[in-house]
């Protein structure tokens, strides 16, 4: 398929930012990275406005309903004798509702990418109101998605859910009498995963090497032990919480505000020892909030953050194997948004999504282009494309993490802080490994999940999941027109990346149904689901290029 549309005015080389001739397929390709779906009006908007202006319009677009408000509207805040306040599944319903149904789609997509960098998981959240813990967390990511990395880092650090997940909540100063020391979990992971990583990086994301040719480690155990002192003295903020005595349990039910408020600092529980980490010295007795600010400033200023974070965001949104030059450009956009501001995430998304390497037509000779589309993204993309409806509004979609019966991935359900897959994962015994390249999403792809995904799909695309049912509103009127159906799915789900041969194979198989224009809707739905099953199972769709 041609990238340029001859019907439109010819344009100079497609310099990012210039309003240029953008084909339908190119617009869809861009949209399927920048958000989940590429509906006709979105494609039109991108073609009319150009990539950069479209991004600006998304940055300025109104927010959807927050996860917290949605939970409230569905009655998840009810204090009932069955103890719903301890149930986790509302967190799944909330996450699915946000991804599937809220209008601020680009923000949702970026938050989902961020949720795989700053990781907390509903699997490990217990106690009162787990859904609200997750909604509070999701709110942090949504708020931060178009903000500044430094602000986001602090809100992540002090979030009630992160406090539970990596143990800043309740982290106490040392006790020389018992030998107890501050918990090191957050101090380690904030360096290893959230800011600088294990190795010194060049500005293009490649690993820097010392005189001996070996990678240079960024920190050691002493840095962790020191930094851990900074994260002491925090606990859930119970100041807005009300306690309600109830007949069915002998301790009060607390209200949900603690899930949403940043953790509260208690100087009596804070370690006042001097802190020395990564060349930063925080004197003994520095007040806790100041120590936190200094420590996070120091991490944020580290030259690794741009390439470390930037490369992973490219992997989430565009390709598993960006060139060093692409990483360098994204890291530069992190370092300076053009107005002297470091950590502007809007600048990062612009750089990731409009880089020349991202927008250049796929090279048919490149056997390693693109990335494996994530199972959650496949599902959300399908749902937003064909249309879904929840009669009850409850979005009762549970954890779909199981690989034998589910999707093998579920939002906010990572098995650990190391996400569903590692950015450096290479599937062994593959041409990808032989080429020395990476394919993170293959870490959750195997004989079980390959079959489990298709089986879930077979059911879900016809009858939905829980109360969430597909409508196929745009497709029902053309269901009998097989070339039109396949072309529609190819454009909207796959940005035109299905080959003509594959399209023919699908059309031929669909033709066996002999569907006519006057067939009843259930028959048309059978055909449309069959078409989606074929499209969404084929490797030409699964690899997003």
């Amino acid at each position: 398929m041609s990238e340029a549309d001859p019907a439109r005015a010819p344009a100079p080389a497609p310099a990012a930012g210039a309003v240029s001739a953008i084909s339908e397929a190119a617009a869809a390709r861009f949209l399927l990275r920048a958000q989940f779906s590429a509906l006709d009006e979105d494609i039109r908007a991108v073609r009319d406005q150009g990539y950069r202006a479209w991004l600006d319009s998304q940055f300025a677009s109104p927010r959807g309903q927050s996860g917290v408000d949605w939970l409230d509207s569905q009655g998840h805040n009810a204090v009932t004798a069955e103890g719903r306040y301890f149930w986790p599944q509302g967190g799944d319903f909330m996450a699915w509702n946000q991804l599937l149904a809220q209008p601020d789609q680009m923000r949702q997509r970026m938050a989902f990418a961020l949720s795989q960098y700053f990781v907390i998981s509903l699997n490990a959240i217990d106690g009162y109101w787990p859904p609200y813990i997750m909604a509070g967390w999701w709110g942090v990511l949504l708020d931060g998605a178009f903000g500044n990395f430094r602000t986001l880092l602090e809100r992540v650090t002090l979030n009630a859910g992160m406090g539970m997940y990596l143990n800043t909540k309740g982290n106490l100063k040392e006790n020389p009498a018992t030998g107890r020391l501050p918990d090191e979990n957050y101090a380690r992971e904030v360096m290893q995963l959230f800011t600088i990583g294990l190795h010194r990086l060049e500005p293009d994301g490649t690993v820097a090497r010392g005189a001996d040719g070996r990678p240079i480690e960024t920190y050691g155990q002493a840095d962790v032990t020191n930094l851990a002192r900074v994260f002491t003295g925090y606990d859930h903020d119970m100041s807005r919480v009300s306690h309600r005595n109830v007949a069915w349990q002998n301790f009060p039910v607390v209200s949900r505000e603690f899930c949403l408020d940043p953790m509260r600092f208690d100087p009596d529980k804070h370690c006042n020892l001097a802190v020395s980490f990564l060349g930063c010295d925080i004197p003994a007795g520095t007040p806790g909030p100041d120590a936190l600010r200094i420590a996070l400033d120091h991490l944020f200023a580290h030259p690794n953050v741009g390439p470390f974070f930037g490369r992973q965001m490219i992997q989430r949104l565009v390709t598993s194997n960006p060139s060093p030059a692409y990483v360098r450009r994204v890291a530069a956009a992190f370092d300076d948004n053009g107005a002297g501001v470091r950590g502007d995430l809007k600048s990062v998304w612009r750089a990731v999504l409009t880089d020349a390497e991202a927008l250049a037509p796929t090279d048919p000779a490149d056997k390693l282009s693109g990335k494996l589309r994530e199972p959650v993204v496949r599902f959300v993309s399908w749902a937003r494309s064909v249309g879904i409806h929840s009669e009850s509004g409850a979005f009762e979609m549970y954890d779909l993490s199981r690989s034998d019966t589910g999707l093998g991935q579920s939002p906010l359900r990572s098995p650990s802080v190391f996400n569903f897959y590692r950015p450096g994962y290479t599937p062994p015994h593959t041409a990808i490994a032989a080429a020395g390249r990476q394919a993170p999403e293959f870490q959750i792809h195997n004989e079980t999940s390959a079959a489990g995904y298709i089986n879930l799909l077979q059911w879900a695309i016809r009858w939905g999941v829980g109360d969430v049912k597909p409508t196929y509103a745009a497709l029902l009127p053309i269901a009998h027109d097989l070339p039109a159906v396949v072309a529609w799915l190819n454009l909207h789900l796959a940005a035109g990346q299905l080959s003509p041969e594959t399209c023919r194979t699908i059309e031929t198989a669909l033709a066996s149904k002999g569907l006519t224009a006057d067939a009843p809707d259930p028959h048309k739905l059978d055909l449309l689901a069959s078409a989606c099953l074929l499209v969404m199972s084929t490797p030409e769709y699964l690899v997003q290029k």
């Binding site: 018992t178 107890r180 690989s403 802080v417």
Partner: protein, 472 residues
């Protein structure tokens, strides 16, 4: 085909055993069975069948070794209590699981150990000689002392990469390299066994998702789910689709795609999935196994995994399997907080799963041909960080099976201390036995030639002794 133990046990004998075993609570049935198996062993030997399997039980997150194998004697318990404080077990609670080694063993500082109270079945296995304890084992490149660790001479005393980091130490344990390693030692063992198996693909099997441990130079890791292999349903039962659509689906997902490596890999996985499903599920249907794994149905994911491993072992003859490596895992061991609660729940799962698995191998007549062993990211600090513990290094591990020289401890017990030279601060154990030695001992039993060991475990020559002796 399976060799179910049918030796009759008289009621009087059962009652006598029940009286002896009453103190063991939940583990009493296991102890009774173990005793019965001993008497029946002669009748139930599995002959000269050439089969061996290793099962790696990975405790993801870094198992808290100090609350798994707990000091019991008064002096050392006192040290433990003093250092661990609120996350310590009560001494009384440890009495039922105090270990009784088969022969007296003098350990460091006259240590006596008990298992955590949640491990009564572990005690039965240990006391019955079916489990060995490997003390303070962890990744090492070369033996190091505390002074060498503190010093700067990394040329002479190199350390494993990225100590104390989860993902890297997980990889170091499984593959002798930090994250990104693509070949594990289980997979390397499997490489040597490929040609002897009816289905090479069924040499290295994970029931726990992709794991580098079971990936070799040539051996692929095959995934199995707790319910067996998963068929691609629309190919066989197209539902609302049609046979033509099922056929098109089959073609689209399996056809070679030489123009793109990612796409081609998807096709390869789909072909493997579809081709092996019929073979594996067909063989599994012929397996009779009565051992109960479902103490609380569906509540123990490790037991679910170990059950399918046992069933695959039960299908070994139908599948022509002679040497197999399995990987199972249980997550949640990163107990920085609420250790007392969370760790206890996890150990209960491990106790139930491991004991059921051992009993299943007895039922299948392969107890002496199957060796299971634990592994984990790392041990943890002895010091309490409030209500949990932090990332450590060395740890204690457990080897289970009929070929185990069990009922005894191997290696050197660490001092219960936060300032001795066998720890590197906060009670993080400096390993006195290397993971490579642990692996080499398993390799030797599995039949890996010594000549191949140096390639598979390149540092093994740095250590004094490549066979720790815990297997016959």
């Amino acid at each position: 085909m399976s060799a179910i133990i049918t030796t009759p046990i008289t009621r009087r004998l059962m009652l006598k055993r029940a009286a002896q075993l009453g103190a063991l609570g939940a583990a009493a049935p296991l102890a009774m069975n173990l005793a019965a198996m001993g008497e029946a062993a002669a009748a139930a030997t599995s002959g000269e069948e050439d089969y061996k399997a290793l099962v790696c039980i990975f405790l993801l997150g870094g198992n808290d070794h100090a609350n798994t194998l707990v000091p019991y004697d008064v002096a050392n318990y006192g040290r433990y209590l003093n250092i661990r404080g609120a996350i310590s077990y009560r001494h009384d609670d440890l009495t039922p699981t105090l270990l009784a080694p088969r022969a007296p063993q003098a350990l460091t500082d006259h240590l006596q150990y008990a298992f955590a109270p949640q491990l009564p079945r572990f005690k039965v296995l240990f006391d019955g000689g079916k489990m060995a304890v490997q003390l303070n084992v962890g990744p090492l490149v070369t033996p190091v002392t505390r002074a060498q660790y503190d010093g700067n001479n990394r040329a002479l005393y190199p350390l494993p990469p990225k100590l104390f980091s989860h993902n890297d130490q997980t990889s170091v344990w499984q593959a002798d390299g930090s994250e990104g390693a693509t070949i594990g030692w289980g997979g390397r063992f499997g490489d040597l066994a490929l040609s002897g198996n009816g289905h090479a693909l069924l040499t290295c099997i994970s029931a726990a998702g992709n794991a580098v441990f079971v990936s070799g130079e040539n051996a692929l890791q095959y995934q199995i789910s707790p319910s067996g292999a998963i068929p691609v349903n629309p190919i066989r039962r197209p539902l609302y689709a049609s046979d033509a659509i099922g056929e098109a689906l089959h073609q689209l997902i399996t056809q070679p795609r030489p123009h793109h490596h990612f796409e081609n890999e998807l096709s390869i996985v789909a072909r493997r999935s579809i081709e092996m499903e019929g073979v594996v599920n067909g063989a599994l249907r012929g397996v009779t196994m009565n051992t109960s794994f479902d103490l609380v149905p569906g509540a123990n994911e490790l037991a679910d995994q170990m059950k399918i491993v046992a069933r695959l072992i039960g299908a070994r003859r139908a599948l022509g399997s002679r040497r197999q490596i399995f990987f199972v895992s249980l997550g949640g061991f990163d107990t920085h907080s609420a250790l007392a609660l969370k760790h206890a729940e996890l150990l209960t799962k491990v106790d139930e799963a491991v004991a059921a698995f051992y009993m299943a191998t007895v039922e299948l007549g392969v107890a002496d041909k199957v060796t299971a062993f634990t592994a984990s990211d790392f041990g943890r600090t002895l010091v309490n960080n409030g209500d949990g513990s932090d990332h450590g290094w060395g740890s204690h591990h457990f080897v289970i099976g009929g070929a185990v020289r069990g009922g005894r401890f191997y290696g050197t017990a660490p001092h219960i201390s936060i300032d001795s030279d066998d720890q590197v601060g906060q009670g993080r154990l400096l390993p006195s036995t290397a993971t490579d030695q642990y692996a080499a001992t398993l390799a030797h039993w599995f039949g890996v030639p010594d000549s191949a060991l140096r390639t598979i475990l390149p540092n093994i020559g740095n250590f004094n002794g490549a066979n720790l002796g815990f297997l016959t």
